[in-house]
Symmetry: C2
Subunit: 230 residues, 2 copies
């Protein structure tokens, strides 16, 4: 909210694909973030735009928590497959069904909401959508289209929504490849926060070098406000 | 059995990893094949040899039908993961458990019984072990060791068991890459039968060229017996 009182435009870019934007905003507001649904760039709504633009009717292999994002999408007689972090819904039966749909298409189109390898839960590491994307890619002999970080198109869509150019924007994130690398490829500068996914080895990552590091989000905001006032 | 009456040595090489050799032999005998368990080279027993040689204790992600092949294998405190065509047992929970075991190992070892993309059942195409191998490879950032066709080591083990050299042996199979290509890489000649997995396009495969084609197994046997009597 300090950011909001300034003249800076803010946008939340997430790869969350188990929870709808609506529910995500509720969670974030509870944590004290002043945020509304319209300020969130997320893979599911971005995918809906792609589907509409290209006349695609998806077979959905997704978590029930995000199904509402696809309420207005025609899923009859599918001509593509959309996968997201489906968690327990990644049963053999469901994954095989998505595979069969793809194999029946003349030009199989697979859209994946992110390509994360895994994420951490209190119960332990959990396989993310990327693993199942690779399984379907291999089985069908195709390459998926990724919607979400680190795809440059995803950052670009966030910039469009804000109406700013890449060189005017700064990305703040905890994932050295997905957040920092993706944003930089899109022409933005990027700060890595030393929280969440951050590991000390990230500061010596072989391929990606952040434009700066901050210990937490508050420090990032301080930095931005300082620069904005200059 | 015509082959058996001749002086030729015969060995059945299969990538079957849902059914134990014992049950497989029962099925084949019903179809009229004169075959015993000791004449079958299959990924599960070959894997057991590898495990023993290398002191590996597997976490098993396999079909119940093949569990008996691992009866004498120590699976306590696992230091590797073995996956096979587990079918419905490829639940998110089971695949994630295998992933967690791998991630807890300093040197994660993943052994895959074959790397097939899919196979056909009357109910439709079914995802094979290769898809899940790729999922785990990607999530863990590792490469699996494949035991089964088309791995040359697998054909080599069949040759050892028969006590013959590669140039003395002929492989007969329906899979242009898995059977014909694998055997040829091992130094064997290979015939493709125009049944089962065979597709007419196989005769113009970009990478693999069979040493000959036969319409069915009977024709292959005729051919072999002719040559044997010369």
């Amino acid at each position: 909210s300090r950011l909001k009182r300034s003249q800076l435009k803010v946008r939340f870019c997430t790869n969350e694909s188990q929870v709808s934007r609506k529910d995500l905003v509720v969670l974030l507001r509870r944590k004290g973030f002043d945020i509304s649904e319209g300020e969130v760039t997320a893979p599911a709504p971005a995918t809906c735009l792609v589907l509409k633009e290209r006349g695609l009717r998806p077979h959905l292999l997704i978590h029930d928590g995000i199904r509402s994002e696809f309420d207005h999408i025609d899923t009859s007689n599918p001509n593509c497959v959309v996968i997201a972090d489906a968690g327990e819904s990644f049963s053999y039966r469901n994954v095989n069904k998505a595979f069969q749909v793809l194999m029946e298409l003349e030009n199989p189109v697979l859209i994946s909401l992110g390509k994360g390898r895994y994420y951490k839960q209190t119960s332990g590491l959990m396989l993310d959508v990327g693993a199942y994307m690779k399984a379907l890619e291999y089985a069908c002999g195709i390459e998926a289209q990724v919607v979400g970080k680190p795809a440059p198109e995803f950052f670009q869509s966030a910039l469009w929504e804000m109406g700013v150019e890449a060189h005017e924007a700064i990305m703040i994130g905890d994932d050295i490849v997905g957040d920092v690398g993706g944003a930089q490829q899109c022409g933005m500068r990027a700060l890595q926060v030393r929280t969440g996914k951050f590991r000390p080895s990230d500061e010596h990552h072989p391929e990606v070098k952040a434009d700066g590091y901050v210990d937490d989000l508050a420090e990032a905001v301080d930095l931005l406000l300082q620069h904005a006032h200059q």
